[in-house]
Amino acid sequence: MSEKNYFFAVARIRVREKYLLTDSDISQMAGLPDEKSVVSYLLDKGWGDAGSGEDPTKILAAEEKKVSSLMRELKVDPKIFEVLSYPQSFHNLKAGIKEICASEKSPAAFYESVSPTRAEILGILMEKDYKALPSAMQAAAEKAYDTMLKTRDGQKTDVIIDRACLDAMEEAAKKYRGSLLGEYEESTVAVTDIQIAVRALRTRKDRAFLEAALAPCQSLDVKALARTASEGEEAFYDFLADHGFGEAADALRASSAAFDRWCDNSRIRTLLPEKRNPGTSGPLVAYYLGRMNEIKTVRILITAKANHFPEEAIRERVREMYG
């Protein structure tokens, strides 16, 4: 998209921002008695489409589709959209490999609105035509598929693909340095590295696993992170506090849910300055990411309500909103 057209697109996004869920909407939904009332609240807000009815899964899928088609309609640079879709695209790759190896169809495991789609992934893997994949996925797809076929180790496959996804995001962070997209990708890689290290620490994974899983990034020394993660929790928390992630250490001390919440909130906070930016692609990117965060939070809320979580436990898990 050329720079001259951002004024039109950003103005459209500003109108749409009025309809984003706010923190108070989320708080209200957390206080609702059951899943059905949350769905009804969302339908009142205009969520879902003609075909989704009151099925929460279909409503959320419809919302994902809406935001993706809006981005295409606004002619956001496809390269930017490709970067934004990395987590979903790499997820589709994982789902494709597992579907083929398990010989069991699972279309619900795929994101429909991003490329490569389920059909594309399955076709490429069957044909071993990895070059048809986006360049960031090619090597990882080949390695992960071979590993899965030979070892049937789903976790190992996940590690390969997740690492490739993080490496691709870090490349994007370097390429788009100085823009919102660059900052967001960098923040996402650093936060995800911390998440991986936390899980490894708590499941007592060895250092070799950590070194394979952690993606180097500019804002975090991952070698030191891997080292401290194998030294115990207190050393790890001190490391985080010393490297500008004190809030993450506090959240970890509180609970796992509080830490997951911090991870998402810290990403969302990088988007907030775009609310005041009138003429670049930043607000479009921020809107897309804000909407995806909204959908993720609603998914958590609906799942928690369906499983009869107490209200306090739900409030601990809900994320800050961009709206």
């Binding site: 004024f7 103005a11 109108v15």
Partner: protein, 155 residues
């Protein structure tokens, strides 16, 4: 035609041209943003149209100064300029609205774009949103006054 007349005409032309370029840019940018808002919310047309028009005034001020100048230098009336000194004075007198018109219309356009974004999100803030670009207008009006005062006092 004397060299003085060339200078005076240059001043008259610059008033309209430079202020007009600024206004065209500002109104164009604000128009893109206004169209974006109307695409989502057609009811906001009147509000965003007013904001879009604000950077257009500099072009009108430039035109006004051009007419006053032409009516004094013997083109549309007045006494033809025969000496270089008087011609230069007219050129200098036209410069405030030419330069300030160009720069203020650019910035007012950007301000209008931001205000259109504000109205898009919070339509009830229209009154306040109008004030921000209107503040930029102050400097275009000051430049217009100075240009008119100078032109009308030459000779």
């Amino acid at each position: 035609m004397s060299l003085g007349m060339v200078f005076a005409l240059t001043g008259a032309v610059l008033s309209t041209a430079m202020a007009g370029i600024g206004s065209a840019w500002g109104v164009g940018r604000a128009g893109q943003a206004a169209a974006g808002v109307v695409a989502e919310d057609p009811d906001s047309f009147a509000r965003v149209l007013l904001l879009q028009l604000l950077p257009g005034t500099q072009g009108i001020y430039g035109l006004l100064v051009t007419f006053i100048t032409l009516s004094r230098i013997g083109i549309l009336g007045g006494t033809p300029v025969t000496d270089t000194h008087t011609g230069l004075l007219y050129l200098l007198a036209c410069l405030p609205i030419a330069v300030v018109g160009l720069v203020s219309a650019y910035h007012q356009g950007m301000c209008s774009v931001a205000s259109i974004g504000l109205v898009a999100k919070k339509p009830d803030q229209f009154g306040r949103a109008m004030i921000f670009p209107a503040m930029v207008e102050t400097y275009a009006i000051l430049a217009l006054l100075i240009s008119i005062l100078c032109i009308t006092n030459i000779g």
